[in-house]
Amino acid sequence: MEKLLEILEELEPDVDFENCENLVDGRYLDSLTILSLISEIEDAFDVQIPTVEIVPANFNSAKKIWALIERLQEED
């Protein structure tokens, strides 16, 4: 989680990631930023994020993103 927050803050320094619940719907993360994010996550946590999982519900908060990462790690 710490690592994820670090990545997020580096991408968008202005956003309060710990509390924000509508990262995608509130347009804090646009699609190109999500691409960077995915690429960072894939490197940092050694997971593959399939296209199906790229939905607002999975990316709207740091917690949700973390949950996604954990789920993908388990599935592997």
Binding site: S31, L32, S39, E40, P50
Partner: protein, 528 residues
Amino acid sequence: MSYFNVLYAFVALPILVALYNIVPKKIRPILLLLASYAFFFSYSKFLIVFVMLSSLSIYLAGRKMSSLESKKKEKLEGLEKEEKKAVKETYQKNKRNVLVFTIIFNAFFLFIFKYLGFFVKNTNHLVSFFGGNNFLPIIKLAAPIGISFYTLQAISYLVDIYREKIEAEKKLLKVMLYLSFFPTVVEGPITRYGDIKDTIYEGTRVTYQNFCFGYQRILFGFFKKMVIADRLNIFVKIIFTDYMSYSGPAIFLGAIFYTILLYMEFSGTMDVVIGSAEMFGITLPENFRQPFFSKNISEFWSRWHISLGQWFKDYIFYPVSLSKPVKKLTTGIKKTFGNRVSSLTMGGIALFAVWSLNGLWHGAGYQYLFFGYYHFTLILLGNIFEPWIVAFCTKAHINRKSIPYRIFQTVKTCILVFIGELFFRADGLRAGFSMMKRILTDFQFHHIGREIASLGLDIKDYIVLAIALLFVLGISILRERRIPIREKISKKPLVLRWTLYYVLIFAILIFGAYGKGYVPVAPIYADF
């Protein structure tokens, strides 16, 4: 029968509502399907077979994919890990074949109806370089109504099954209704099976409240279209056909008016569409979210024709940018230039694909392709330069959250959009460029008063337009603040409420630009 036909909104629709409430719950989806097919037939006559074919093909493909999936599960039981992988791969491959084949099948019709003419013209052009003349015969085909919309829905249905996001539907009837549902079939919004399947087949009674809410929305749509769009059309038509006779500022005003017209026409249609569906308890996704309040072009596209943008995002943008070849390409870049550059490249490639298709989707013509690449360039540049802009603002002590800066951003975005729509509406690319050239080189403001007066609208028309636009703006601001307008109104006393409705109705009847001397805007998106 267009959505703005009185016969649709105030005769056919109430009759359907009455019938819907009379028949038993189980019959209701069938009634909706019959109504949808009748509606489709009224536009495209026997071309209706194509929407039936599409429905049948995706239904069968869906069943096939789901049976492959269950067979796979059966086989997997009690296998070793290594064998499992092999089995998974074969089934995945079979599923993919079904998917690809059905998508091609559906896209083929789309190509034939929409792009064959364009293709033939360009091939002939190419061949003529080598001395050939009219190499291929030019055929003009009338396309089934809404083919651009329902084909995208068909593809989303297939891909969602393939991705196991939804289960394949067991009943053919339901798939048929999904593709041809009468409110959405002509101009969208492009719905996803998973989003509407629960409500569309539910068959809940039309309640008094839904009925009233539906009609409120429909009336608002009529207002936008008949009072604003059809009136602006007079001005816009003259400017775009005879642009050589007008000054730069007048042409730019024409571009602004066209953009407003397009918004009022399309979002007005969506109001009628969403209002119609709402009566039957079906919530359709919104297609517009106050697009002119956007800070940049990328945000604009998440507020304008949302369902199309979302479709491209889910089925083109992410799959392309995360596809193996693109990833392979960008890992190299990543090592040397870092993550930002690599994901920009990745996104750039995918964006390019998205906007090529987006341009083509709007029609077979170079001005549409140009329109696509124009927005592609703006979005990409916006992303590339963002860090510098941020740095510049911090250095110059500009607060990027301050109101003046926000206004600056919004105005800038609107101007960029106006320019894009100018090319979109212009009669071919060449006309678009000469109009643009006039705007940039001809600053003769002293004619503007006379020109505005000579473009078919008089001072009273401009007053009506101003009041109507302020009214729509007011509603947009309320929506932006997430204030539930209709719920608020329904709590007001009856006299006040009814007065409001009557004012709206009679504003349309009296100030609507219809009847003699007016040419209503043809449904713009129905042709895409």
